[in-house]
């Protein structure tokens, strides 16, 4: 692994996220101050692997955990450091080094056409309009979207849109790429396409690390490291296949416990 620039390590030290809210849901605790709920943490971990997956139930805190990594969510207590940069005090630098890919590409794509959206990503680095347009066309061609520069984002297929969202993120050449359920809305062919592309990124260009959440356990198993999150905490930490095997067993054990007579949750297990 090349090690140019700051040490490519993500550190979470006692990171906690509290949100305003009065009534805790089952499995939720209250936050440090009255009237808040703890939705994540405390989380203590160091991510040094090129590819890290995060899995867990809906609402377990996966998305919050990965949003901590680019300062979209800031810790209520504790610290989050990305490649040596604190996500609170140096959030602009963190964001300029971090790419974030959302589940729904339509949220992420803000310009009317594919080419213009890529240009928007390049605004910061290329001031000249003509140069920017040419660079955007090159980025599109690189991602198999050549000739779609003038196509409305509403007229692209779901897979093309997600591919375009990825292209706009990669156009900024991020050192860390964070993806929140990047394949949830895609068909199998595009799912595999996007998976392969994401997994191939660390080590190319400036990109050193990839962190993603997913419900696709085959995808999670391909990671170098996989965190299992439940009720806002990391409950298991292993390599990809190991963590996925643990998670499957855990879910099946819980379901089996629920169906046992007298467990009180039979109606859900039917």
């Amino acid at each position: 692994m090349p090690t140019a620039g700051p040490t490519p390590v993500i550190e979470l030290r006692g990171a906690v996220v509290d949100l305003p809210g009065a009534a805790p849901a089952p499995g939720q605790g209250t936050g440090a101050t009255p009237g808040t709920l703890r939705i994540l943490g405390p989380v203590d971990t160091v991510l040094a692997e090129p590819v890290t997956a995060v899995i867990g139930a809906n609402g377990s805190g996966k998305s919050t955990l990965v949003r901590l990594l680019n300062g979209l969510v800031q810790p209520s207590a504790g610290t989050v450091t990305v490649h040596g940069l604190d996500t609170v005090s140096r959030v602009d630098e963190v964001r300029s080094r971090t790419g974030f890919m959302f589940t729904d590409p339509l949220v992420q794509l803000v310009m009317p056409t594919a080419g213009e959206d890529v240009e928007l990503s390049l605004r910061r680095t290329i001031r000249h309009r003509g140069e920017r347009r040419r660079a955007a066309e090159a980025v599109l061609a690189e991602h198999g979207l050549a000739g779609l520069a003038h196509r409305s984002i509403y007229d692209l297929s779901g897979g093309q849109r997600q591919r375009l969202a990825l292209a706009t993120v990669l156009a900024t050449d991020p050192a860390l790429l964070v993806a929140d359920e990047p394949t949830t809305l895609l068909d199998l062919d595009w799912t595999l396409e996007v998976q392969d592309l994401l997994l191939s990124l660390p080590g190319t260009g400036r990109c050193r690390q990839l962190v993603y959440t997913t419900h696709d356990l085959d995808f999670a198993a391909r990671a170098d490291r996989c965190l299992v999150v439940a009720d806002g905490r990391i409950v298991h930490d292993d390599d990809g296949p190991g963590a996925v095997a643990w998670y499957r067993r855990d879910v099946h054990d819980r379901r089996a416990a629920r169906t046992r007579p007298g467990a009180g949750r039979q109606e859900r297990a039917r």
């Binding site: 974030f100 949220v107 803000v110 310009m111 213009e116």
Partner: protein
């Protein structure tokens, strides 16, 4: 096709500098608003149609009427009512003329404004707006952010249209009749949700580029 989507082309209208387009739009609109004589409004409408012809988009001229006729009809009815029931009551026949002129004037202004938007690529509009908002920099306006906000607003219109359709379908599938009052609440909530998500996505992309001032309001993401 959306009402405000860019229609690429190489006509003189497409190639005209953005400043000229805005100047022409401003002149046409001021004339339409300030000088509501049937002859003048008719002449300006003919001029706007001429510009559509020049842009080789004559079929697009009537689109604001097809999509926005309730709005125009409302303006006409309002003018008609204020004529009939105004301080100097007119006979309904006399009030009809000014009402039609107002509708034609609003239509002309809409058509002219739309021609500017559909003959200019989005990035160029963005650059132009940023340039314009640059004049307000000393009042604390971040030109890039202001231009981006206008652009995002324009491009969210089709999204809101889709949200209205989706919620109407959801109501229909539950056997409820769709009505503007029933739709307004859910669509408003969905739109606020989309706005939040879009803001988050822009922040994640490091946009707008200039550092945003730390606002002093309550920050829920940090503990006290």
């Amino acid at each position: 096709m959306n009402l405000l989507d860019h229609r690429p082309g190489t006509s003189p209208v497409h190639r005209a500098p953005l400043g000229v387009k805005y100047a022409v739009l401003l002149v046409l609109t001021v004339v339409l608003v300030a000088w509501r004589q049937p002859v003048v409004v008719g002449a300006v409408l003919a001029g706007v149609f001429g510009l559509y012809l020049l842009a080789r988009l004559p079929g697009e001229f009537l689109a604001p009427w097809r999509r926005g006729w309730p709005l125009l009809a409302f303006a006409g009815v309002a003018r008609f009512a204020s004529g009939v029931f105004g301080p100097v009551p007119l006979s309904p026949l006399d009030a009809l003329g000014p009402a039609l002129v107002v509708m034609a004037a609003v239509f002309g202004a809409l058509a002219a404004a739309r021609l500017l938007v559909i003959t200019t690529p989005g990035t160029e509009l963005l650059d132009g707006l940023a340039h314009f908002f640059g004049a307000f920099r000393r009042f604390g306006v971040n030109p890039e952010a202001a231009a981006l906000a206008v652009n995002v607003m324009l491009r969210t219109i089709p999204w809101v249209g889709a949200a209205v359709r989706a919620h109407a379908e959801a109501l229909a599938s539950r056997g409820l009749r769709r009505g503007p009052v029933r739709l307004m609440g859910p669509v408003l909530v969905a739109t606020v949700g989309h706005a939040r998500a879009t803001g988050e996505a822009l922040a994640a992309r490091g946009l707008p580029a200039a550092p945003e001032p730390k606002h002093p309001g309550p920050d829920y993401t940090r503990g006290a």
